[in-house]
């Protein structure tokens, strides 16, 4: 079970740091720094730079993203910003605008 769940009705403006898994179903504006995985659910809005071990995007993310492991852009997800990750998947039906740095 997720350590932190930001529910669909909740908006956080500011900086979030966490060393456990974070699920965003609501809105986050600012900065998100997580040692674990971050899941952005469908309908969620993240307007923040995101640093995480892994990031799964089913909602909308605007901001630069860096993941030590992987970034998965799911169907219906939208990511506007630069991605720095060792592995990146973009599913059919996802939208993406930005640069990718896979650290090669």
């Amino acid at each position: 079970m997720a350590g932190t769940i930001i529910g669909s009705g909740i908006t956080i403006e500011g900086e979030i740091t966490s060393d456990e898994e974070v699920v965003v179903a609501g809105t986050v504006r600012g900065k998100l720094s997580v040692d674990g995985g971050v899941t952005v659910e469908g309908g969620a809005v993240v307007e923040a730079d995101v640093a995480a071990a892994s990031l799964s995007v089913g909602g909308h993310v605007t901001g630069n993203v860096s993941a030590s492991d992987r970034v998965d852009l799911l169907t219906g997800g939208r990511l506007v910003g630069d991605v720095k990750a060792a592995r990146l998947t973009i599913a059919d039906g996802a939208s993406f605008k930005g640069n990718v740095d896979m650290d090669v």
């Binding site: 997720a2 350590g3 932190t4 769940i5 930001i6 529910g7 669909s8 009705g9 909740i10 908006t11 956080i12 403006e13 500011g14 900086e15 979030i16 740091t17 966490s18 060393d19 456990e20 974070v22 699920v23 179903a25 609501g26 600012g30 040692d35 659910e41 469908g42 309908g43």
Partner: protein, 131 residues
């Protein structure tokens, strides 16, 4: 546990939000629904639903919610539309406002309590200014 088959947006109960033990928020938390805080929040919290500040959690900032339950540490004012409960493990420094306020034995509290309640008839009138 049985789950509904259509669970694209509802594969977890996102009406109840949790800020876990390892999570720290610097900024404002606002919104609808309930929130359980186990970690740290530096900044205000404003909710329509219930706010639970768990034991070990720490909030610095003013708090506004429907119902407020505090078992952790709060530095800031509380404004509740419903009841406020301060548990034994709580450390609260700030003013409390709500329809009713309960303070458990063992809780540390510094501040004012303002509970809006109707005095019973026998206490109303005739004893005004009985300070």
């Amino acid at each position: 546990m049985v789950r509904a088959p259509a669970m694209q947006d509802n594969d977890l109960d996102t009406s109840g939000s949790v800020l876990g033990r390892g999570t720290r928020v610097r900024g404002r938390v606002v919104g609808e629904g309930d929130l359980r805080v186990e970690g740290h929040v530096e900044g205000g919290v404003s909710l329509t639903g219930e706010l639970v500040i768990e034991e070990g959690a720490e909030i610095t900032g003013d708090v506004e919610a429907g119902v407020v339950t505090i078992a952790g540490t709060l530095t800031g004012d509380v404004s509740a539309r419903g009841p406020v409960a301060i548990r034994a493990s709580a450390k609260v420094s700030g003013n409390l406002g709500g329809t009713e306020v309960s303070l458990d034995e063992g809780a540390e509290f510094a501040g004012r309590i303002e509970a809006d309640f109707e005095l019973p008839a026998e206490l109303q009138g005739g004893r005004a200014g009985g300070r």
